[in-house]
Amino acid sequence: MREILKLIVVLTAFCTVSAFSLAFVKEATKDRIEYQKLKMLVAPAVKAVFPSYDNDPIMERIKVKLGKKEIVTVFPAKRGGKLIGIGYETMGSGHGGPVEVMLALSPEGKILGVKVVKHAETPGIGTKATDSEEFLSQFKGKGLGSKIALTAAGGEIEAVSGATESSTAITEAVSKGMELFLKVKDQIKG
């Protein structure tokens, strides 16, 4: 009996100490990890969608709360201290899972650029849409009034043939992102 008790005490002590130290390390590295992740995965997309800026949008990111749970991380691009655009990620459902898209908008709500950040589309098929500059540049200049949908659905965006599903996913992501714009913008000003 005593023997078993000893085993229990020792193992519990080991695990407790381990848990506490890990919680401490996790807490200490949390912000840094988030920054690194954004810098490696998102920064290239931010660079691609904005024309030119002189601040560090990743460093100056703003967390915008929409509704109760939804949080959008907004990357502001500035030139000479003046806001020239905001970028945020939005998602559409593609063939291989969610397609994450970086959407950059001018302060007036015109699309400056669209870039796919992360996707799991089939290489050589779905990627024809996700990597296509031509396809993505169709979104440029569209504003709040434009109907963002594929031509098949009555919109103005030409899908990449052979990659309809991925094209739809990107279009869906952009149009979803546009819906958020007014709400996001309200919060950024305030």
Binding site: L7, L11, C15, L22, V25, Q36
Partner: protein
């Protein structure tokens, strides 16, 4: 404390007991993480850190740990340090973390830290356990790095991502694949046996 023994425990990991070659342990990362020098060296350093820390701690606690649950205790200790390594590489060396991926968490089930805990740290004072862990870790890093140097230069034509081969050089892409690693490992093991006489 005996300096001579310290040195002996340290140097055995560098040649006579060098982990991936002599023990043929920890082969999974040896094959998977040696396509470039940066990855090989990084993996080695991660393992060295885990090994040194777990050896020290287990040696300190060797009188407290009951024999029946020693493996469970070792695993908890090793796993804790592995997660610390995982989080720190993620925070400070993100590209390395992306390259090593699953192989960092897999250090938990790597036989080297557990093997050293069981074979050495469990029965020896802290000072020597430190030497043992450090020696084994550095030996492992050296093995991985030398394998990686060979594979990167001939398989990719680069060294630390800089092109160093002449312009017409056609890299042996076979070396970059896992079977290529096996062949390299075999050649190096053979070479080591040739030089060191090998263990009969």
């Amino acid at each position: 404390m005996d300096g001579g023994r310290f040195i002996k425990e340290f140097t055995k990991g560098l040649w006579s007991d060098i982990p991936p070659f002599r023990f043929v342990l920890g082969l999974c990362p040896t094959l998977a993480c040696t396509t470039t020098v940066r990855d090989g060296f990084g993996m080695g350093m991660c393992l060295t850190f885990v090994l040194v820390c777990s050896n020290i701690l287990i040696s300190l606690l060797r009188k407290v740990i009951p024999d029946q649950v020693r493996i469970a205790c070792f695993i908890v200790v090793v796993a804790t340090f592995v997660i610390i390594v995982e989080l720190t590489t993620q925070a400070f060396f993100y590209p390395l973390y992306m390259a090593l991926g699953i192989f960092i968490p897999l250090i938990v089930v790597n036989c080297i830290p557990l093997g050293r805990a069981e074979a050495f740290a469990k029965k020896n004072p802290v000072f020597y356990s430190l030497a043992d862990g450090l020696g084994m870790g550095i030996g492992y890093t050296m093995s991985l790095t030398s394998l990686a140097i060979f594979r990167e230069i001939f398989g990719k034509g680069t060294f630390l991502y800089h092109h160093i081969m002449w312009s017409g050089f056609e890299p042996f892409s076979f070396l970059q694949k896992p079977p290529g690693a096996f062949v390299c490992l075999g050649l190096m093991l053979g070479l080591m046996n040739l030089i060191g006489g090998g263990k009969k």
